[in-house]
């Protein structure tokens, strides 16, 4: 297992010095060692990438660094919030990935030395790499909304990382009286899962309509437009008439501050006091990306769209929600698609080749009700240093179709979740 190249901090210092010496006098012995790829982050991006690397080139020594023993998936977690799915259906382990030859290290990565090509772990040990993949997902910015810090999240859940927060929001909805006001605060772009707040509005409305029909749901938005907008707005009218209200940025929807003591959300245009407040704050790339020097002043990671190599940190690749992928949205499908392209590029680079220009697909389903699915899809290719939409392709589900079409897309959404989680973790 990983012990072959995990060393203590004391040895690490010595090894760094040795590495410098070795770099100064390159020795053939180096070329004969199995190339090492370390992947940080065991979500849809990182776990997919670790697996794909091993499948493309079994000679690679692949290590997946992920402190959690169980992964809790965000896609479909809005159904958990609506009380229609168990959190356990969202949870996956790493045993099968380890059985496939990937070394899984259950530690947090705390340091990256891009010059020495080492990753420091929370237990004081370190890993050496030839190529590093960062798939750290997002960090919630607890400095962006006045009053919204980690303590406030225990009162006004974000539920934007699945797990305890998901269950907290569900419990709050269950405890709410009929006739209560639920408020969702949606952030400005870019953020994880662009259609997510609006799918959540639908599925919470589904719960309210079923269990607490006198209640209302208000979306306070820091944007004037959003993903699948017309489809969601049609669904609110069709499925939850009079229940869902959306206040856009220009209508005063941007939340500037919150008061967790009174469950109040404060905008330029007034205060909204909620029985249940779901505050989705602005986000940035997971912290290790900044530690590695891979983030820019936006808080996200600029990448080469062919290899996903960081534009600021050589030999470090960034995939998934953390990277700036141009037109590709921050979705699980995107992370998985990027992971496979990145893995092929790394294997090609390590074998001395030149990675081909890729094309990538995203498909993202949302449920407006358990039997009412809508989707957005896109095809992307590198253009002007970013991933750009292939013109003429992609787009959202048609607006005027029979309910049978929506039911089919809901069914495909279920199939997608089963398939992608099997590919990544099964």
């Amino acid at each position: 297992m990983g012990t072959s190249h995990r060393v203590s901090r004391r040895e690490f210092v010595g090894a760094s010095a040795a590495t410098v010496t070795a770099l100064a006098f390159p020795l053939p012995a180096f070329a004969q060692a199995a190339p090492r790829v370390v992947v940080i982050g065991g979500g849809f991006g990182g776990a997919s990438c670790a697996r794909a690397l091993k499948q493309i080139d079994p000679k690679l020594q692949v290590t997946l660094v992920e402190p959690n023993k169980t992964f809790t998936a965000c896609p479909f977690s809005n159904i958990v919030i609506a009380g229609l799915r168990s959190i356990e259906a969202q949870q996956f382990g790493y045993d099968k990935i380890a059985a496939g030859g990937v070394t899984v290290v259950a530690q947090a990565a705390t340091a990256v030395n891009a010059a020495a090509r080492t990753v420091g772990l929370a237990d004081g040990t370190s890993l050496s790499y030839d190529r590093l993949v960062l798939s750290p997902g997002i960090d919630l910015r607890f400095d962006a909304l006045q009053g919204y810090d980690e303590a406030a999240a225990a009162k006004m859940p974000h539920a934007w990382k699945a797990g305890e927060q998901t269950l907290l929001l569900r419990k709050q909805l269950e405890a709410m009286d009929d006739g209560g006001l639920v408020v969702i605060a949606a952030p400005a772009n870019p953020f994880r899962c662009p259609p997510g707040p609006y799918e959540r509005a639908c599925l919470i409305a589904h719960y309210l309509k079923t269990k607490k029909p006198r209640s209302k749901l208000l979306i306070l938005d820091a944007k004037d437009t959003f993903s699948k907008q017309r489809l969601f707005q049609n669904a609110w009218k069709e499925l939850y008439p009079g229940m869902v209200e959306w206040i856009s940025l220009s209508q005063g929807g941007k939340v500037n501050a919150v008061d967790p003591a009174t469950n109040t959300l404060i905008t330029d245009f007034g205060n909204h006091t909620a029985q249940v407040a779901n505050v989705i704050p602005p986000q940035r790339a997971g912290r290790i990306a900044t530690v590695a020097g891979a983030t820019d002043n936006t808080g996200w990671c600029a990448i080469d769209p062919v290899t996903f190599e960081s534009k600021s940190a050589p030999n470090i690749h960034v995939i998934g929600d953390a990277c700036l992928a141009g037109a590709m949205p921050k979705s699980a499908f995107t992370a998985n698609a990027q992971a496979k392209v990145c893995a092929a590029a790394i294997a090609t680079l390590i074998s001395g080749g030149t990675p081909a220009t890729p094309k990538l697909i995203n498909t993202c389903y949302s449920l407006a009700a358990p039997d009412y699915g809508i989707s957005v899809a896109g095809v992307y290719q590198p253009k002007n240093g970013l991933l750009a939409d292939v013109e003429g392709a992609g787009g959202v589900s048609p607006a005027d179709v029979p309910r049978e079409f929506r039911a089919r897309e809901a069914d495909y959404a279920q199939s997608w979740f089963a398939t992608i989680t099997a590919e990544v973790f099964g």
Partner: protein
């Protein structure tokens, strides 16, 4: 003797070839398919498995999705992002997967 000559032949081929990756690197676009179309055992899924399917069938379906003659929910939108050559390469790669 026969076994030895085969071994020598293999060794010769290996020595003269550039480094080869164990699995063929998928052509542009192909790696994304398995996000929805299972790459593993046929799962309880409404979406068809494409690995090992006839390349001609896949190409026919994709061109049909692209020109609208073959109705679908999402594939009509995705197929429009690929040229004939790209579709043929993707279909050939999918057909060659186990």
């Amino acid at each position: 003797m026969k076994a030895l000559s085969v071994a020598v032949a293999i060794a010769t081929v290996m020595a003269s070839s550039p480094p080869v990756l164990a699995a063929s690197v998928p052509p542009p676009g192909a790696a994304s398919c398995s996000g929805c179309h299972t790459s593993g055992a046929a799962a309880a899924s409404s979406v068809s498995r494409l690995y090992g399917r006839d390349a001609g069938e896949i190409t026919t379906a994709m061109t049909g999705f692209r020109d609208g003659s073959f109705p679908a929910t999402v594939m009509t939108r995705i197929a429009k992002g690929f040229t004939d050559d790209e579709l043929r390469a993707i279909a050939a790669w999918l057909a060659a997967q186990k």
